[in-house]
Amino acid sequence: MLAKVYVTPKKAILDPQGKAIALSLHALAYAEVGEVRMGKYLEVQLTGLSHQQAEQRVEEMCQRLLANSVTEDFRFEIVEE
């Protein structure tokens, strides 16, 4: 079982990295590019849990460590491998 965790900067937080990436894409003539937000993607291997237990445990992991609630939002999906 695998948890795919996506951590992204909150909308209210300035994301200078995303902004710099957007500027570079514009410099490459991708005029269609609007805002870019840069976050993190984590893959967490899990064993011995039911799907429901995994949801609860990963939610807790995100709150306690994987994301900082002041600056980041998170979402995740649990997939069978």
């Binding site: 300035l14 002041v70 600056t71």
Partner: protein, 226 residues
């Protein structure tokens, strides 16, 4: 007075803080290893600058779970003076001892320069030897020093006199041009409601001798024992 300075894997200002306290200020100072829990009877603690755990995940995020941090949190909650400098400030925010967070500098550049900071409150354990509105010249060196917090948190920081330092220009004004990293309201340092835990991005331990460029940093330490 006996001070403890915590060494995390990746700390690199722990010995500078030790030198500042022992050699310059004549205090007794011990290095506390992050895997220990025994605070060795220290009366004040410094969480030094550096790159604890390589800044993996987020700056300060992993150091927060070091065994010594359980003791540091208990010490702080019991009213013990704790100073977090740079990475130490990031660790204090991650551990919940201080509100807010530090994110990447708005310029995306690592900044190493002397800045001027204004003392906003003298009620903390680390600013009682300063006068309100006094400006101190102290260096910064960081890539992730942009202080952020939500609107409610900033309001409560203001209402409870918890903003300790702001970046200012040569005339002491907290204008935008004097803000090196994009920090909200030019905030360079904050404290907890009790005033015993203080975190700041500038490095007072690097400003304790004329040979190093200035002595203004001494006041943060002398505040605790004079």
């Amino acid at each position: 007075m006996k001070w403890g300075i915590v060494t995390f894997p990746g700390s690199n200002d722990d010995r500078d803080a030790w030198y500042c306290l022992e050699a310059v200020l004549g205090q007794e100072a011990v290095l506390l290893w992050h895997k220990d829990q025994d605070l060795q009877g220290v009366e004040a603690i410094v969480l030094p600058g550096g790159f604890s755990y390589g800044d993996y995940l987020r700056a300060g995020a992993l150091a927060r779970f070091s065994p010594i941090m359980h003791s540091v949190v208990d010490f702080a909650n019991a009213g013990g003076p704790v100073l977090g400098v740079c990475n130490g400030f990031q660790i204090l925010c991650e551990s919940g001892l201080l509100p807010g967070a530090l994110v990447r500098n708005r310029s995306l550049s690592f900044i190493c320069e002397w800045v001027s900071i204004r003392v906003e409150t003298t009620r903390t354990r680390f600013t009682s030897a300063c006068s309100a509105g006094e400006c101190l010249s102290i260096p910064i060196k960081h890539g992730e020093g942009c202080y952020v917090a939500d609107t409610d948190t900033v309001q409560s920081l203001t209402d409870n006199d918890q903003i300790v330092f702001r970046y200012v220009n040569e005339t002491g004004a907290a204008e935008r041009a004097a803000n090196p990293n994009g920090a909200l309201h030019n905030i360079a340092g904050v404290t907890n409601p009790n005033g015993n835990v203080v975190g700041l991005m500038p490095h007072p331990e690097h400003a304790v001798e004329a040979l190093l460029g200035g002595e203004d940093g001494r006041k943060l330490f002398t505040s605790v024992f004079i």
